[in-house]
Subunit: 347 residues, 2 copies
């Protein structure tokens, strides 16, 4: 076994070990993924670091994606690990511009896990899948000893089909593109935080967990020129934008006041010391479209309940690979990723 | 939340919890899968309970499968969780008669896991994938806190394509079919057991973990009439045969003396009190072919190193849904599944 030599700021050497932040959707995770995983499995599809892989077979384009769900707690206001594990994977397919078709599901159960809760979670998965016209066609079940897991982990992989000819990817982002955000941010992270810490708010905050294929499909059906889509998960809006700016080599210019944050979420963030642009979401995405189609994109999205707060939040510029944000009081700052994330085990 | 009422022998009620045996590939697991999971997700593809799903898209047939790997220890004689997670999923595709094309990989890492070991495992995955002309195209990484996992769990999902028109499934098994076993049994289970318990043998036993697509492909290329394929994993040869007899509604007749078991494995089984027909394998399968093609099937398989001990082990009869085995001393017994498995966390 040779020493790992990775030319990266993290101490990846023979003594270093995995930190929680390596799963956080921030810088540490990106370094782990790029320097260890993508380097070893090197191939063009994986290298694109998109939400899923687009593969060509039999003159058709399919999307293929996977996610493991390790969220804690398993049940939260607005969903549970079951619905989340369906929405999350469907959303990754949708972000490739693919119509979700099939899901696999694999359970890692801890010995002693209550069957009633397992059945509730399974039913929640099935309801979420049915609501999205997706079929769970294959699965796997493993059980590990007490203390060797944390109740239940779920993996879902998904297959979708691309029914258009666009190349939906960071490489397709163009200078001048409008950046559309599909709704207010931060609800999922704050809902989980509240559940975990036993916080209560006057207006309880529900997770935004939702399947995004239907609004995305509508954008395609309305023949908008969509260049790139990305859902906001771990690391929040900020990390998604930073990743896209970096992958596209272009700059993204946005304004704090343009980004919708529900009053309760903003209040909770203030109390907890969080910046909402880093808080996790599970039912929000950004779309990069031609500037001339920005208003139409917003109008179409707003027809869907989970996108009723959709809005234009900025534009793409040419100042290489960075995200610039104008603050509410006027100054401009460069937005960076966090090293890890604010909250571990958010999805 | 309603009480679970499942008409099955297990105490699935509001107080019951998951046992280790529910992950064991035996009766308990089958009950869990059939009565909770398949019942909720009900659809014809899942109901077939095959190693993977066969789905039709764009006038082609694809196979889709998933497996989580929770093996302990992570590294063992003859492989590690990395190679196992590639072979296992490739084998499930092969058992659908599908050429493996693409894999996803999802890691659940425990905080504190050493990077050197992670990198070794990743390299092992990549080598296994390359050896099988399979590309790892998409992935996911999650980290859970110390004590919330057992080092590393891996999920891989796979997509393959069927390049023939056979319906490879338990329903295609016919009375009179020959049952061909691809090699000697029990090596994987005994190798893991030895590693776990610190046992040493004069001739160390290596896991049989191996990718099975190449021998299977050869059977298709030689135009043999393959009716069904099944790899032997948790629960061993016995559980695979019992499942197939039950799914096909036919009987399977085999003889103990026809089943190859390496001397060292037989010796270890004797010491440990195991019956080798229940011991796990990761590179063995059974093929159901027309009786007239039994010899040719064996000859073709034996050309491949991992199948050099391939042999005919029995025939299919019409005595509804059971497996009958003639013992070495002459009597016949009905083979049943174990409730759980001999060893948890074998894959």
């Amino acid at each position: 076994m040779n020493e790992v030599n990775l030319n990266c700021p993290l101490p990846f050497n023979q003594h270093s070990t995995v930190l929680l932040s390596h799963g956080g959707g921030g810088k540490h995770m990106r370094e782990l993924v790029e320097n260890i995983i993508v380097k070893a499995f090197d191939n063009p599809t994986l290298r694109s670091l998109h939400d899923g892989a687009v593969i060509k077979e039999k003159n058709a384009r399919f999307a293929f994606t996977t996610d493991s769900y390790v969220i804690s707690p398993l049940v939260f206001r607005g969903g549970d690990i079951g619905s989340l594990s369906v929405h999350g994977t469907i959303n990754d397919l949708a972000m490739c511009g693919a119509k979700p078709l099939y899901l696999s599901c694999a359970f890692i159960l801890e010995e002693g896990f209550p069957f009633t809760l397992f059945q509730k979670i399974i039913q929640s998965m099935q309801q979420a899948a049915m609501a999205c016209d997706v079929t769970i066609v294959t699965g796997d079940t493993k059980v590990v000893e007490r203390g060797k897991a944390d109740g239940l982990y779920i993996n879902t992989a998904g297959i979708g089909i691309l029914e258009h000819s666009f190349d939906i990817s960071p490489k397709s982002i163009q200078i001048g593109d409008a950046v559309i955000l599909s709704g207010d941010i931060g609800r999922h992270g704050i809902a989980i935080m509240a559940e975990r810490e036993g916080l209560s708010f006057d207006c309880p905050i529900e997770s935004d967990s939702a399947p995004l294929w239907k609004p995305v499909r509508e954008l395609f059906q309305e023949r908008l020129s969509i260049h790139c889509l990305r859902d906001l998960t771990r690391g929040g809006l900020a990390s998604a934008l930073v990743e896209l700016a970096s992958s596209s080599g272009l700059s993204i210019h946005t304004e704090e006041k343009a980004i919708p944050v529900k009053e309760e979420v903003a209040g909770a963030c203030e109390i907890l010391g969080f910046d909402p642009i880093y808080v996790a979401n599970e039912g929000r995405f950004v779309a990069f479209v031609s500037k001339s189609e920005a208003d139409r994109t917003v109008d179409i999205l707003r027809k869907f309940p989970m996108c009723e707060n959709a809005c234009l939040i900025g534009y793409v510029g040419e100042r290489g690979g960075k995200v610039f944000m104008k603050s509410k009081i006027g100054g401009e700052r460069i937005v960076d990723m966090l090293s890890g994330e604010q909250l571990p085990r958010i999805c």
